[in-house]
């Protein structure tokens, strides 16, 4: 091949690329606005309608407090919400970490042996069908009331299923060309898993993690409704509701919502970092 063609070709490609980058950036901002604006407008409209409905006396404030009342409590209680969110967040994070680690490791083992995969799928389905929240009271009674372990266990068990199922599917879906190539390189089973299966399964792992991250927060919050150590968002919501302090209960619910969002966005960010080739 002639050298000059190559360089001229690559040069034209580079300029073409930089041009397309600038246009795509302005286009990206435009699509970004177009994507963010409608839900934002809808959200504000819904809040306004909510506020009006309550203030016009259509709904009793003890049934549904007005957004302004909830906002007021959110500001007043921000220290408490922060502390409770930290406690619940830590529980959710620990659950997410061990649940994910267990799911990925077991999926790796299951993917290596066909009978294990066939065996583990129904077992995982049973585990998933189990109303995990129903485990919370039992686990809470198994450990001391000062222990954070039950909530972390519940969160981890909930995380396990989506991560396991998705990772296993990813590990088993190998491009036949990649398989033949690795055979031609005389690569062994473990090398194959490390170099091809695992990186190939990464998008699937993150699909599972995106579901699991929000689930972990829900589990960590809701597990507190059934006893155990009472220092997270869940116990704050129940106690506020018990005192009929509904705006305060809603303020903590909003805190739980924000915590879930933080977990979800952190997962998205991690996904971007872990898979730069997908951007």
């Amino acid at each position: 091949m002639s050298r000059s063609t190559t360089t001229s070709m690559s040069r034209s490609t580079t300029t073409g690329m930089s041009r397309s980058t600038t246009t795509s950036m302005s286009r990206r901002t435009a699509t970004g606005i177009r994507r963010v604006l409608p839900p934002l407008v809808l959200g504000i409209a819904a809040l306004a309608a909510w506020e009006l409905t309550v203030s016009l006396g259509r709904i009793a404030p003890f049934v549904l407090p007005a957004p302004s009342a909830i906002w007021h409590e959110l500001i007043a209680q921000r220290g408490n919400i922060w502390d409770a969110a930290l406690a619940s967040g830590l529980n959710a994070l620990i659950g997410l970490l061990w649940g994910t680690a267990a799911a990925v490791l077991l999926a790796m083992v299951a993917s290596r042996f066909r009978f294990l995969a066939d065996l583990s799928l129904p077992l995982a389905a049973v585990l998933n069908a189990l109303p995990i929240i129903a485990l919370a009271p039992i686990l809470n009674n198994m450990f001391e009331s000062t222990s954070s372990l039950p909530r972390r266990l519940v969160a981890g068990i909930i995380v396990f299923f989506p991560v396991f199922i998705n990772t296993l599917r990813g590990l088993r879906e190998v491009n036949p060309v990649h398989r033949e190539l690795m055979t031609s390189y005389a690569a062994g089973g473990w090398t194959f898993t490390r170099l091809v299966r695992l990186p190939g399964a990464l998008p699937f792992v993150f699909t599972g993690l995106r579901q699991a991250s929000s689930l972990a927060v829900i589990a960590a919050v809701v597990a507190e409704y059934f006893g155990g150590l009472q220092n997270g968002l869940g116990s704050r919501i129940t106690s506020a509701a018990a005192f009929t302090a509904y705006p305060r209960a809603w303020a903590f619910v909003a805190g739980a919502c924000l915590l879930g969002l933080v977990f979800y966005l952190a997962t998205l960010l991690l996904e971007r970092i872990a898979m730069p080739y997908r951007n």
Binding site: M1, R3, T5, T6, M9, S10, T14, N175, V177, H178, E180, L181, T183, S184, Y185, A186, A187, T191, L195, V196, P199, G200, L202, M275, P276, Y277, R278
Partner: protein
């Protein structure tokens, strides 16, 4: 010593079952060092099967396959050949550079060795500027060139290619054919090339092996006596068209 020696090889899939298929029946093939041999024939003639037997990706039902004087399995374990498929099959999570490095990595070569060899290979296929790109950022033709660079990275004496240009447009295809010949001439690599394009087989090869299906077998062999280096002038020459006609007749006779 021969680059490839296939003797009395038969391949029967699902033997003993109702869906038994004789993919290859009593095939003999010898490839000399530095020779470029194309396998051509209609779908189901067993050309890809023959290539996979040589690559030891499947084991023949009977007969022997030797690569570089070694049994096929030993040759595979020693990475005596490089292989490329119709799908480039690049690892999308690795940069171009790291894709080409992979076979070297699996050979346990040091980082410095890998770097210099990869640089050499990317230079060969004209993609030096794209070393840090990910495969998704490249065109189909560029991806296929990376796949060829990867196949050649360990400097194998033999290159096996299964319709590597099959998914490319005609212009890219012809350019890559010329590039491939230049690379093979430079490295002295023997090549077995599976295709179903007659003009591609003729342009590239020293010898075209014509195969026919049910059961898959070799029905004719055409020596292609065209001047080298093969360039655009060769593509337009009467000798080229004569050779194309010869191969086409052989394919017709086989069917």
């Amino acid at each position: 010593m021969t680059a490839v020696s296939v003797q009395a090889v038969s391949q029967i899939f699902n033997q003993g079952h109702t869906d038994e298929v004789t993919a290859l029946s009593d095939v003999d093939l010898t490839v000399a060092p530095g020779e470029f041999v194309s396998l051509i024939g209609p779908s189901g003639c067993g050309k890809s099967t023959l290539l996979r037997l040589i690559a030891d990706l499947i084991t023949p039902t009977s007969g022997t396959v030797e690569v570089n004087g070694k049994p096929a399995e030993k040759a595979r374990l020693d990475q005596e050949y490089g292989i490329a498929f119709q799908q480039a099959g690049l690892f999308e999570w690795r940069t171009v550079q790291r894709n080409v490095e992979l076979p070297l990595e699996l050979r346990g070569q040091s980082r410095a060795e890998r770097r210099s060899r990869t640089a050499e290979m990317l230079e060969l296929v004209g993609l030096t500027d794209f070393a840090r790109h990910y495969p998704a950022q490249l065109s189909g033709g560029m991806q296929q060139r990376v796949a060829i660079a990867r196949a050649l990275a360990v400097h194998p004496p033999l290159l096996l290619m299964d319709e590597p240009f099959g998914a490319l447009d005609e212009m890219t295809r012809e350019r890559l054919q010329t590039e491939l010949l230049a690379i093979c001439a430079k490295t002295g690599t023997s090549t077995i090339f599976v295709t179903h394009s007659i003009s591609e087989a003729v342009f590239l090869s020293n010898r075209v092996v014509v195969m026919s299906p049910r059961p898959g077998r070799i029905t004719a062999t055409a020596d292609i006596d065209l001047p080298s280096p093969r360039d655009e002038a060769v593509r337009q020459s009467p000798a080229f068209f004569d050779a194309v006609t010869t191969v086409r007749k052989a394919l017709r006779a086989a069917a």
